[in-house]
Amino acid sequence: MTKLLEIRDLWIEGRSGDDWHKIVKGVNLDLARGEVLGLIGESGAGKSTLGLTAMGHVRPGCRIAGGSIRFDGQELVGASAQVLRHLRGRRIAYVAQSSAAAFNPAWRLIRQHCEAPVRHGVMPRAQAEAEAVRLYAEMRLPDPDQIGFRFPHQVSGGQLQRAMTAMAMACKPDLIIFDEPTTALDVTTQIEVLAAIRDIVRNHGAAAIYITHDLAVVAQMADRVKVLLKGEEVEDAPVREMLAHPREAYTRSLWAVREFQPAPRGPAPAGPPLLQIDAVDASYGTQKVLDNVSLAVPRGRTVAVVGESGSGKSTTARVVMGLLSPTTGKVTFDGAVLPTTVGGRPRKLLQRMQMIHQMADTALNPRQRIREVLGRPLEFYLGLKGRAKEARIRELLTEIELDPDRFIERLPGELSGGQKQRVCIARALAAEPELIICDEVTSALDQLVAEGILRLLDRIQRERGISYLFITHDLATVRAIADHVVVMQHGRVVEQGDKARIFSPQHEAYTDLLLSSVPEMDPDWLTQVLEQRRAAG
């Protein structure tokens, strides 16, 4: 096989203020015709930046500091705008992460589809339009004859992502760059888009660079995987070989959450549940968002609520915390019915339940030092002051494994993502609560960091007997930490029960669909699931 793309010792710098810092540090990359390379790494690894340079494109504020990029024998570093224009859209195409933002809102889909082939003179408009309909059908879009005449905002996210892939194929390019094309989608939508993308790339024999942070996704799509860490290559190997025998510890950490095992725990505590939600309905304005939701959280246990976006899982948390009043039904805490609003709850009651948010970035006031963040609940709930408060803040920091001397004076901006989430946990613990609601607490974190947070939460639960209501869309996290699982869809509880029962076969159709749509590490997983679904009809 001949080399299609050859990147040698590439250095890319980004500007912050007047300084240039390195984003990509001397990376080499080879891609053969028809080969699919997975580019994987955590946020800030430089994978998108690297992917875009394969088109000779650097974003504003970045520059290529050295190295060479050869596409089909032609050097792209320092190439003229005309040369690059001639390649882009025609021989190299790009599929962006957010299709809703990457389509021009003022144009119909098919007009945007035909732009590249017509403007590059590859084919006349009539032919391009006919091709577009064929590609829409190939991407399994509904109503392929008509869908092109819609505007971007008239099509769902999953369909738009497929339309963009079809658009990338318009000129039958030799290379397609996929930049996290399914990251913004729900799992049940993601699996369909993945299948469509994989098939169309294979059928057309195009080469592709598939950028993602999810190893399980890349396992389905790529022949070979390159792992990046802070702009440097960690490992490059065929996908099966890498999954079976990762050479580097870092590669292995990419599936840390999946391997997390909580410590074994004792028998379930007897007695009534700590939190009980009974037949709760809730709405935002006229739109009903919760419909007859009931669930219970036992003392010292973890109940995971899973569902896709819009399933009502976060709304359930808001109802429990008193941020949204239910229209009917009641919430009972430790045997007593909870007042429906925060304002109606006495301080002693507020203290007993705390919440940890998904985005630690926005959950910490950027102008408050850690001392104030942790000190306020101590003062507010426990009346601690002066030396007693200081001592307790230090204890809390030690408990979340941060050195008090180094961290107590810092602002949130001086912490990493994982450290911020730990501070949020400490703030919740400062109130000495009985129940903590964790709203997607690990979703925004890289795998290894997320695993550390889960480990910490597990240890705290064992030591203090706190109950968790764990809200997440990530089933790997559920498997790792939950005792009970509640599956939600469209504001209703579809199914709930013991983790063991939910994760064993034969349940509700939606639970089945949801569980089977979560990508697994096995490179054959996608093929198998699709075959099973086809067999099931």
Partner: protein, 285 residues
């Protein structure tokens, strides 16, 4: 505070020039009686003296020393603009933060009221009100502060709404914190950068506005030294500007002196505001 001093070291040249100019104006305004060679409305000599010692910038039609009047003008015009801006900020920011935080009908009612006030162009509104109240310093301050507080209200409400979507506000609410704590401790520290920048912009606006009204003869009344009225008083002279001799040239340039004083201060404030805005956008990253 040390924080800002630290930033100052890395400030661009334009911001440094702006700050230096502001400091000079502040000194002139604060120590006007000590610096000015003559009194504010003291007749110092013959009318229309050229720019020669002891009247470094000449005298006006009544024989008052122009330089002294310019220095006192700094005190009157800038001082008045500062008081007005502070008042506008007090009203506008307090109501804006309150409206955003409380929400509901309070927010709706206040926002509607402000919408109507803003639908009337402020110069026209000010002229209307000043017709009724008559032109006095108090009326000027109150009218302009009220008009200007509408813009401050809009901005602080928008900034507060941005901050209110943050989870740390929700955390504070769930903790059971009261309105006062949320506004003072959670919102205000995060709104300070855009509000400081807005203060600078509003100050410029108010300052130009007062000067404009004075220029129209509806602002500060004589014999108070005020840059806007000084331009008005000497406006006709510009037609006689003639660069043939020093005397005729300086004679004709008289209206440009107070106008330049106004222009330099607003440019200086704008330079600093630009830098503050740049800093605060940089801090977000």
């Amino acid at each position: 505070m040390t924080n800002w001093l630290f930033h100052l070291r890395g400030a661009p040249l334009s911001a440094r020039i702006g700050l230096a100019l502001i400091v000079i104006y502040a000194i002139l305004a604060l120590f006007a009686p000590l610096i000015a060679p003559y009194g504010e409305s003291e007749v110092a000599g013959a009318a229309y003296q050229p720019w020669i010692a002891p009247y470094y910038l000449g005298t006006d039609a009544l024989g008052r020393d122009v330089m002294s009047r310019l220095i006192y003008g700094a005190r009157n015009t800038v001082g008045l603009a500062l008081i007005t801006t502070c008042l506008a900020f007090l009203i506008g920011a307090a109501l804006g933060l309150l409206a955003a935080t409380v929400g509901g009908w309070v927010d709706t009612a206040l926002s509607r009221l402000i919408d109507v006030l803003m639908a009337i162009p402020s110069l026209i509104f000010a002229l209307l009100i000043l017709t009724i109240t008559g032109a006095s310093a108090t009326a000027l301050v109150l009218v302009i502060a009220a008009l200007d507080s509408t813009r401050v209200f809009r901005l602080s409400r928008a900034v507060a709404q941005g901050i209110l979507t943050m989870d740390y506000i929700e955390v504070a609410r769930m903790r059971g914190e009261g309105l006062g704590w949320i506004i003072r401790r959670e919102i205000l520290p995060n709104a300070s950068a855009p509000l400081i920048a807005e203060f600078g912009l509003r100050f410029c606006f108010v300052f130009l506005f007062i000067s404009a009204l004075s220029f129209l003869g509806l602002g500060l009344q004589p014999p108070t030294a005020d840059w806007g009225s000084m331009v008005r008083e000497s406006a006709r002279l510009i037609s006689f500007a003639n660069f043939a001799t020093w005397q005729t040239a300086t004679f004709g340039l008289a209206p440009l002196l107070p106008a330049t004083a106004i222009a330099i201060l607003t440019v200086a404030v704008n330079l600093v505001v630009d830098w503050v805005l740049h800093l605060s956008s940089g801090l977000k990253d």
